[in-house]
């Protein structure tokens, strides 16, 4: 990438250890990332993967054990949180309970000694942006969870930060409100043109909202890419498994040419992939269930026996046994009564296009 503008946030080989000596816990292990200006960037991973630690390092609540962080091209090592051009939306919202909504939103501007007229105008503008006009005089305790969330957002945005950090901001909301706030966050990100760093463990949320996602596990970033990259072309077993459902097959590469490789899963079951691997290597293959094609009497494909058929409304999941020992699932859209097309005990033919078969690292 030869961007002229500096990265909104650049994380260079950052490690973070808590504790010391043999008891030290490595929360982040040489993580490097570059966030583009104006992008909605998501840190996705299970709890304990280091995503919140990374956010706290960017905010300045923690200092890295090694490596450095640059915000808008400037190194921020040693800068306390109150000197960094970033603002945070906390998981618990952390609204000041003894202040009104307007006082909460005005807090950052007051701390930076902006003129009163500017503060009043910005507060009104921000409350309008998050659609909370008219609630200026309320206390946080008098607001619903969704409204508190909006106040937290307005309070952070009022400072016009270079980067907005969001720490699982939607996890305390119920499903309906969460969907609403997801759309709201996207709208606000477009309206403000800010860089958002969004931490979540919810893969659905990450896929629908992000421009790019970094999937984290065990203190490392495994893959960075667009939601489509992450879902369609996972590079790691963990990524394929964590995001959506997937079939993971152990196989040995037996041939390869310009168009890809052939891998043997079991006797008589050979799968073609569009990726290449050296002949003789052991590989793990990931295949999304919805890319699997099932047929009763196709001349080609791998033979499988249907174990169970589960109806999911929009689609039906067919669990199978491949080659007598490997479990495998396919998802069939319920357009033509797929739920009735297969029954446990049936023998079917299974295939997948080579571009749907991904070689993933462990």
């Amino acid at each position: 990438m030869a961007d002229k503008a500096p990265a909104a946030v650049e994380v260079v080989a950052v490690s973070k250890r808590f504790g010391s000596g043999a008891d030290a816990v490595v929360a982040l292990d040489e993580v490097s990332l570059a966030l583009r200006p104006n992008e909605f960037f998501t840190l996705l991973g299970p709890s304990g993967c280091g995503k919140t630690t990374l956010l706290r390092l960017i905010a300045g609540f923690e200092q890295p054990s090694a490596g450095q962080i640059l915000i808008d091209g400037e190194p921020v090592a040693g800068l306390p949180p109150y000197r960094r051009p970033v603002n945070t939306v906390f998981q618990s919202y952390a609204l000041f309970p003894h202040m009104t909504v307007a006082q909460n939103v005005a807090f950052g501007l007051e701390m930076r000694r902006r003129p009163a007229a500017e503060i009043a105008a910005t507060v009104a503008e921000m409350l309008a942006l998050v659609r909370l006009g008219g609630l200026e005089a309320r206390r946080p305790a008098q607001l619903s969870g969704g409204q508190q969330q909006r106040v937290a957002l307005a309070r952070a945005l009022a400072n016009h930060p270079k980067v907005l950090l969001l720490d699982e901001p939607l996890s305390a909301l119920d499903l309906k409100l969460r969907k609403e706030m997801q759309a709201e966050l996207k709208r606000i990100q477009h309206a403000t043109g800010l860089t958002f760093v969004f931490v979540t463990h919810d893969q659905g949320e990450a896929l629908t909202m992000s421009d790019r996602i970094a999937v984290m596990s065990g203190g490392r970033v495994l893959q960075v890419g667009t939601p489509e990259d992450i879902y369609e072309r996972p590079t790691h077993r963990f990524v394929a498994d964590f995001i959506g459902d997937t079939n993971l097959l152990e196989a040995e590469c037996i041939a390869h040419d310009a168009s890809g490789s052939r891998c043997r899963v079991a006797d008589g079951i050979e799968i073609a992939t569009a990726q290449s691997a050296a002949v003789g290597t052991r590989v793990t293959l990931a295949i999304r269930p919805e890319r699997v094609e099932l047929a009763r009497a196709a001349p080609t494909g791998w033979p499988a026996r249907v174990e169970s058929v589960t109806y999911f409304g929009t689609d039906t999941t067919v669990q199978m046994m491949l080659g007598g020992a490997v479990t495998f699932q396919a998802r069939v859209q319920n357009r033509n009564g797929a739920v009735h097309a297969f029954a446990p005990g049936d023998t079917v033919r299974v295939s997948a296009p080579p571009d749907a078969v991904r070689i993933v690292a462990d």
Partner: protein, 260 residues
């Protein structure tokens, strides 16, 4: 089986006699403080003369002023120290913090007579002249745990993210303390202050040991009066102290329960 399903015959009677045992003497004291008779224990008619006598007794009023001065100074001093201690141990864990908490709470379980004798010997040893100053010092020390507990409870209940949010919104540590921590701590501070005040106001044993001439407090003065004979004046002044104590404890409780 819930505890409420346990029923013993006569439980009500036992409970009633327990409350009688607990409060009857106090009720008798308050009633007799309105007795017209100079005999403290024989009722002859209603009067508020004894309250007038109390307010006209210059020695008693001086003792009362001493008590107020000591309690105010000791309570404020103890609250400041307790606040610093609570902030110092805030959101820290481990053996050191547990030890600090134990040491701060220790005066609660040390027998008062031991503290009294120890304080007296200590003051004599370092050559402090007994007087108001020594009483205030001694009170300040035993008031600290009473002030510390509500303040610490309030701090513990505070979301750690609030202070981080303030820092995130460009507040320096000093501004964070002034604008966020202190206002949220306020009910705990007042609660601790009032508790310390009333504990100091009530104290007898330690005061008796470490007060010198001119430093007589109200409880010590009342003890002196009793030795001459129980007069209705003693009943009246005791009732007044009771009133002040109840008012303070009630205020402390109400403030402690204020919404966050």
């Amino acid at each position: 089986m819930s505890p409420s399903s346990l029923r013993f015959p006569g439980l009500r009677a036992v409970l009633a006699s327990f409350f009688v045992y607990l409060y009857l003497p106090i009720i008798v004291l308050v009633v007799l403080s309105f007795n017209a008779s100079p005999q403290a224990t024989i009722w002859t008619g209603f009067s508020i003369d004894w309250y007038g006598r109390v307010l006209d007794n210059p020695d008693l009023m001086r003792a009362f002023r001493n008590s107020l001065l000591i309690a105010t100074t000791a309570a404020v001093g103890a609250t400041v120290l307790a606040t610093l201690a609570a902030l110092g141990t805030q959101r820290r864990q481990g053996g050191a913090v547990d030890a600090v908490n134990a040491v701060i709470a220790l005066p609660l379980v040390v027998p008062e007579i031991v503290t009294a004798v120890a304080s007296l010997l200590f003051f004599i040893m370092i050559g402090l002249r007994l007087g108001l100053g020594t009483v205030i010092l001694a009170h300040l020390v035993f008031c600290i745990p009473f002030a510390y507990l509500p303040i610490r409870a309030r701090l513990e209940g505070m979301d750690a993210a609030l202070e981080e949010a303030a820092a995130d919104l460009y507040a320096t540590p000093a501004a964070t303390f002034r604008r966020v921590t202190l206002p949220l701590l306020w009910p705990g501070l007042l609660s601790g202050l009032m508790l310390a005040f009333i504990i100091s106001l009530d104290d007898f044993v330690i005061t008796y040991f470490v007060s010198g001439p001119g430093a007589t407090t109200l409880p010590v003065y009342i003890f002196g009066m009793i030795r001459i004979g129980v007069s209705p004046e003693v009943n009246a002044v005791s009732s007044l102290i009771l009133l002040i104590s109840i008012a303070f404890v009630a205020a402390s409780w109400v403030i402690g329960r204020l919404k966050r």
